[in-house]
């Protein structure tokens, strides 16, 4: 394992600047998640570390060694793609052993067997080792694909949306498994996703990308509680943060220059309006089982907040709405400290 550094990396495709002046340090043993919508530059960044793209400017170093000009094969990285690409004619065992048997490595077969067994144990696929790769369920195939990266001990694992082709339940399971394996191995992983729940639940730190630029890097708690700007705030949390004009609700503690106020569920106090304190109307109660989403109208603005499903809210209720230690943003959308 090793630390990996990107310094002022820029990558253009024709007129499109896919990644712009991006600097990022990934520490040894860290699971760094790059989060962003399609086209934000996260896959290009990952491919640049892998050596599948050559940056137009900037450097990539692995353990202090400049690898910018090196081809992928000598960089000591392992890549897991979104779509599992297994050898259909081989068994699970041989698929897992494949990277270790490459002519460049030539490991003794005994050592190959030990590595394959260890990884199969980690991924709970020991009983499937003799199966043909094509005789597996989707979830098992993706485990084998991840396993094929894990049999090696590269400087860094690069994973491009490895769970996105799985159904919700399996994704939730593998999320937890992958995090456990990563901490057991002490592996360094650069992980790309557009799923904020994956980012929040798995990451040591999250890097949030927008239009090729890194907007903020921090632990899940840091980016959730102290977003750099409204873009980051809006991309984390379910339901999404409410972004409202500063004057909509009383905010006596708002610092000078406050233009927008961000309020999540825990930053809003909702109550039945008492004489004259009405501030909003409950438009709709959305039942999600464990919680309800309350859709409110406050002065023409829509707000969404969570509520206990067994609380007696109903559409048409007139409500008092109070801000509790909300998040403040200036006219440019940047967060200002309270």
């Amino acid at each position: 394992m090793a630390d990996v550094q990107l310094s002022e990396v820029t990558k253009r495709f024709g007129d499109v600047c896919a990644v712009q002046d991006l600097s990022l340090d990934i520490a040894d043993g860290e699971l760094m998640v790059l989060l962003g919508p399609t086209g934000a530059g996260k896959t290009t960044t990952l491919r640049t570390v892998a050596g599948l793209e050559r940056p137009d400017a900037g450097r990539v170093t692995i353990d202090g060694r400049d690898v910018t000009a090196e081809p992928p094969a000598v960089r000591d990285v392992a890549f897991v793609f979104q779509q599992y690409s297994l050898y259909p004619h081989l068994t699970v065992y041989d698929n897992l052993a494949f990277p270790l048997r490459s002519p460049a490595r030539r490991l003794p077969e005994e050592e190959v067997r030990r590595s394959v067994q260890r990884v199969a144990g980690l991924l709970h696929i020991e009983s499937k080792l003799q199966n043909r790769a094509t005789r597996l369920s989707g979830g098992e195939m993706q485990r084998v694909a991840i396993g094929r990266a894990l049999v090696r001990a590269p400087a860094i694992y690069l994973m491009d949306e490895p769970l996105s082709s799985l159904d919700a339940k399996l994704r939730a399971e593998l999320r937890l498994e992958l995090k456990r394996i990563q901490s057991e191995l002490g592996a360094t992983i650069l992980y790309v996703t557009h799923d904020q729940i994956e980012a929040m639940t798995m990451a040591t730190r999250i890097g949030i990308l927008a239009e090729g630029r890194l907007v903020q890097v921090g632990t899940p708690r840091e980016v959730y509680e102290r977003p750099a700007n409204t873009y980051v705030a809006a991309h984390l949390g379910t339901p999404g943060i409410n972004l409202i004009p500063a004057a909509l609700l009383p905010a006596p503690a708002a610092p000078a220059g406050t233009h927008t106020i961000g309020a999540r569920t825990e930053q809003l106090r909702i109550g039945h309006a008492l004489n004259g304190s009405a501030q909003g109307v409950l438009k709709r109660v959305e039942h999600l089982g464990d919680q309800n989403h309350l859709h409110l109208n406050v002065g023409g603005h829509s707000l969404v907040t969570l509520a206990d499903p067994h609380a007696s809210w109903k559409a048409g209720d007139v409500l008092s709405v109070e801000l509790i230690d909300p998040t403040y943003f200036d006219a440019a959308g940047r967060r200002i400290a309270a």
């Binding site: 919700a168 937890l176 456990r180 729940i197 929040m200 798995m202 949390g237 039942h287 089982g289 464990d290």
Partner: protein, 364 residues
């Protein structure tokens, strides 16, 4: 507006039974969701209601009229397929007008109904535009408009939002439901996404292996699942199960789970053998003084809350607790359960055992 009744519907494809003995009623103006994993028979059921598939057995009644063997085109139902099927060379107006023109509706009436549809969908300002330049959301609205303009008795929708990314799907969900509230037409919506079903439906039919396991309102299905399948399919994360060999008798308020005595809702029936205790993540709390203990396997930060996975000697339990509560992997923790919300299942058949929790149940 229409009431749709499905009576002992069955569909056989050769040896394979896709749908067995399904019966349910969809009331006038309801938003009804058929939910289940792929291969559960939900799409086949929908296609039989549409008239695109003939049942092997059973009946379909539309407003009391038996339409089981009536041709699709005579059923006055609009089937909304994958939504992006628009004519790229035609304007929004012409795309929406198309079904009416092909029926030979007079020009003036076409104009009026397209206008009315556009108003409902809030796309009046787009009528003259070509569809190729529209955003994804507007294209969806136009596709919907083509179904609405016919003023059918019912809308049938088969995973219409399946191809969209999560954020946009959420937005369209809300919009579809609001549109339904404005039009009020009976809608049957098929999906495998339980969150979509929970967010949109008046009532949900949960299907598994061709069988309707439960038909009820979303909160009802969540709080009082009829079976382990339903309990496991609904909720993210789903219900956790503690499996054990044991026995319960009517009137009992406790159950012995592998040696641990746990409080449960007062039981209404007798059962013995392999049982399972089902608990939802939000009904589990960390409590130092609890005798039910386990080791933290993982903690997933979600912002407001976190999901903590705890391995206990009786099985794995997931708890949803405030993220302000610090939890470390490997910690030994005690767990307190909200007794009045727990569900006991016959683990052999998967059926939920009746208890005080199910009193006054609203089923259909």
């Amino acid at each position: 507006m229409a009431e749709i009744r499905v009576d002992k519907l069955r569909k056989q494809f050769g040896e394979f039974t896709a749908v067995r003995q399904s019966s349910f009623t969809i009331e006038h103006g309801a938003f009804f969701v058929m939910l289940g994993p792929s291969g559960c028979g939900k799409t086949t059921t929908l296609r039989m209601i549409a008239g695109l598939e003939l049942p092997s057995d059973g009946r379909i009644l539309l407003d009391g009229e038996d339409v089981t063997f009536l041709r699709a085109s005579h059923r006055d139902i609009a089937f909304v397929f994958q939504m992006f099927a628009l004519y790229p060379h035609l304007s929004v107006f012409r795309n929406i007008a198309y079904p009416l023109r092909s029926q030979g509706v007079p020009r003036a009436e076409v104009r009026e109904r397209v206008q009315e549809t556009a108003r409902l969908l809030r796309i009046e300002h787009l009528l003259k535009r070509g569809v190729s330049g529209l955003s994804g959301g507007d294209r969806q609205r136009v596709a919907l408009g083509r179904a609405i303009v016919r003023r059918p008795k019912a809308f049938l929708m088969d995973e219409p939002l399946g191809a969209l990314d999560a954020e946009f799907r959420r937005l369209m969900c809300g919009e579809l439901r609001q549109l339904h509230d404005r039009i009020g037409a009976t809608t049957i919506y098929v999906t495998h996404d339980q969150l979509e079903a929970m967010a949109m439906a008046d009532r949900i039919a949960v299907m598994n292996h061709g069988v309707v396991e439960q038909v009820a309102a979303p909160q009802e299905i969540y709080d009082r699942p009829a079976s382990m399948f339903v309990a496991d399919f609904i909720g993210s994360p789903p219900m956790s199960f503690l499996r054990f060999e044991g026995a319960v008798r009517p009137g009992e308020r406790t159950v012995r789970v592998n040696g641990a005595l746990l409080d449960v809702p007062q039981q209404r029936e007798e059962a013995a053998g392999p049982l399972a205790l089902g608990l939802r993540p939000e009904h589990v709390r960390l409590a130092d003084d609890s005798a039910l203990r386990g080791r933290v396997f993982g903690a997933e930060y979600l912002g407001t809350t976190q999901i903590v996975t705890v391995n206990t000697p009786h099985g794995q339990i997931k708890a949803r607790i405030p993220s302000s509560h610090a939890v470390g992997i490997g910690d030994n923790v005690g767990l307190a359960l909200r007794a009045e919300r727990l569900v006991l299942f016959d683990a052999g058949s998967g059926r939920a055992l009746r208890s005080a929790l199910y009193d006054g149940e609203l089923n259909g």
